[in-house]
Subunit: 549 residues, 2 copies
Amino acid sequence: MKIALAQLNYHVGNFESNTAKIIHHINKARNNGADLVVFAELCVCGYPSRDFLEFDEFIGLCDNAAKKIAAACTDMACIIGIPTFNHNAEGKDLSNSAYFIENGAIKAKVNKALLPNYDIFDEYRYFEPSMEFNCIDFKGQRIALTICEDLWNTIENPLYITRPMDILIEQKPDVMINIAASPFSYKHDEERIAILEDNAKRYNLPLFYVNHVGAQTELIFDGGSLVFDNTGKLVDELPYFEEALTYYILGDDASITLQQPSTVMAERAGDIEQIYQAVILGIRDYFYKSGFSRAILGLSGGIDSAVVCALAAEALGAENVMAVLLPSRFSTDHSLKDAEDLVANLGCKSETIPIKTITEAFETALEPQFQGLPFNIAEENIQSRSRAILLMAMCNKFGYILLNTSNKSEAAVGYGTLYGDMCGGISVIGDVYKTQVFELARYINREREIIPENSIIKPPSAELRPDQKDSDSLPEYDILDKIICEYVEHRCSSAEIIRMGYDEATVRRTIKLINLAEHKRYQTPPILRVSPKAFGMGRRMPIVGKYLS
Amino acid sequence: MKIALAQLNYHVGNFESNTAKIIHHINKARNNGADLVVFAELCVCGYPSRDFLEFDEFIGLCDNAAKKIAAACTDMACIIGIPTFNHNAEGKDLSNSAYFIENGAIKAKVNKALLPNYDIFDEYRYFEPSMEFNCIDFKGQRIALTICEDLWNTIENPLYITRPMDILIEQKPDVMINIAASPFSYKHDEERIAILEDNAKRYNLPLFYVNHVGAQTELIFDGGSLVFDNTGKLVDELPYFEEALTYYILGDDASITLQQPSTVMAERAGDIEQIYQAVILGIRDYFYKSGFSRAILGLSGGIDSAVVCALAAEALGAENVMAVLLPSRFSTDHSLKDAEDLVANLGCKSETIPIKTITEAFETALEPQFQGLPFNIAEENIQSRSRAILLMAMCNKFGYILLNTSNKSEAAVGYGTLYGDMCGGISVIGDVYKTQVFELARYINREREIIPENSIIKPPSAELRPDQKDSDSLPEYDILDKIICEYVEHRCSSAEIIRMGYDEATVRRTIKLINLAEHKRYQTPPILRVSPKAFGMGRRMPIVGKYLS
């Protein structure tokens, strides 16, 4: 049997483009002699479709698309992922299904049993877990077809009380196929390989695994579809962050013969390289899928906006990036110079709009109320917010999307101005710690200096008052980032973090800052997710809660 | 047996105050001769604790609190709601539990079986559903103790495949007790009564039901705890939007004798009166539980800000409300006059800060970029955003929280300025349609004119350009609100709404506007939820999705 794996970039709710893309790849696979082409989980509607799934019409449109795909799938077979109505009276109204389509007709339907409902996943919000398990016979081979999480209950702390493959294996299948929607986070590729290798070994079966690629707002799918033989050996690994269509001959003896050179990675890409590629794809798809092409951002001369500017230029083309310098009376000459150097290095567009007359107009207007009270955070925030108004005015006038340049460390402790530098359509590095931003800058500069060296080495500063430094208000970032990671990503208590050797006062203060900033983070743009626990849809905290605040 | 029902206002994560409050009511109930006092679902930590539940330390603090409560519960019994560790290897790590505490010790534990995971509910994110059902014997009576949703699988489209009471009834209980966390939405009181009445009748048992009261950020719990006899007759209904402690003698013959006059409502409060009370409680608890006391808002002379100002004055006291008039060159004299009249009627504080010099400073600064391009939405938004900066500067200088004054109709179609009038700590009427805002204004004026009549009767306008009216850009609100409701709350397709008789072009345009505004709504403040489907945590839509946009 000749199997094709189609690792594609879908668009949530865009039935026209998703259907056309699936049919195009069916035709291509048929032309290459494939018997079966495998697409990813919920490919018909895109993943995650979220509450669109609650619209009966949306499910009807999925059904229409499946009919079109089936009609195109003649003289061969395909597997597609699709939400379907659950016709049992009891339970949720939908199933997360896979259709096995053969010669123009839907021959079998498999429903997902293990529904992830943690972090960014909400599948039990929509779907009823399956309790029926049947293999599919095709071309003399018996296929155990499962959907993503169905193979993920093998870890130390199993989240589910059933294991679909334990039931399917009794039907003596010849091969496992798993269709998935497994979003990127650094290290997740290794975890994926380990879990799937474990399945191939445990059940002594070859395993074909197809993932999504492409970004859907904050979620980035990295592809990296996988093929294992029945000893658990990884025989192929599809490319990361790009589409692919690959072919394999599966022999009756369970042998797998690649029809193109294997692209198993000799050496795994480092975290920073992966983050770089993920974020580029995230920016590109955010713009492309929302029908925009041009980005704008404020350039301070600091490292965060410099890195975002370089990433945007790579993702969208430098000619589509407008960098705006917005100096205040506290901006240093070297900051302006660093920003100008970056613009020159990248070749992007730039404008300079000083904010002095604007902040003075605010301060004058507020004189009757402020009555000579000392300069404080109110005046600092006026600067940051005046910049946001100017950038948004440029967006409104010329059709840019504003890129947010906050990093994860700032977002964590609330070191940023709501409606000021926390504005934007999408947060590019909001899941990247400050210490990682430095590494990203070095990575961007790996061949030549793009980010000015001075932006990298100078002490971080918001420049909202004279001689301000981040370290005036915050612990040094190498300490801060580790504490944030232990609390936010590993969900350790302050006592546990202190036991690791961090200063007690610093730990308590940091955790308190994190909890007190929930109200700010609630109103920030979606953040491109690159870590196992990003701020946003995957982390849902009370705002008026009292715990640790 | 003398049973006490404690309908209380908890604070998420505030173990100190929740524990003290529970123990205080145990002591009070004991002094009044109660054998058993019943508290609400997850009362120990507050509801919803959301991802705090993922911290082991948080669950440990719940356990500590339970020990203190048990120690205080001598010579009587109580029922409390608490998250507990699930010690089975498989499944989620937690259970949503009820402890039956008797004479200082935890005598029984019951786990919730039906876990709501829709709209604002995420319980399967944390909890493993129970599959064990046992009654509890106490004082010669057998209690079938269930938790909230466990009794809610009796409706036409059952969401779950089990029904806990069908199993418990085989153990021949004498009484049902249900502890709940059932948030307010208008009409939900009637639905609650119908479902619980149906349970009492179906199982032919008396039923005691205890709900939360009080707001946790956007979710408002209205109380309204209930007592039914075994014929399904509603014998008591606790007050709405306030705490209560009531007593009942449950006879061995299943008779219920109230120990205070019944407060079953002769006539149900209207939707608008309920919304009024809910929103007042929502504002009050948002401020109280986050440790603030003073609110600020921009007063335009229009009806939305007038209504919010009146609600805030009722919730916090007029002396704690600062209304700021922010006239531009497009503000009409009558708007200023209407705003001033409102301030005088309420007796709240006010300031006037003209924005003309500020918007001029922006326009001058942008002249090199805008190069004489015509006045458009860019300049309109500068006005709205300049107001937001001034209001936030007042917050930063004086410690106010900014109240957002957008209504649900505007929020739906994106008729508002992000980082402008869409700012605020909490959105007061973001779940109230414009047509309901008019009704709220009439309700506020039921005894005397508080909202100036002119603010109610004049055509709605944003006053961001000369002679602007909402109806220039939007359908009339009586039509618009109905289309929004059918799409957002009832999840009807455009075809279905058109079949109801609405103009096709208007329906398609409205739905498109709603879908295109997801990116704006993503960044708006939490919205006090008063409808069955509010924007915010209960409605999760893709941003770059293509469906109907």
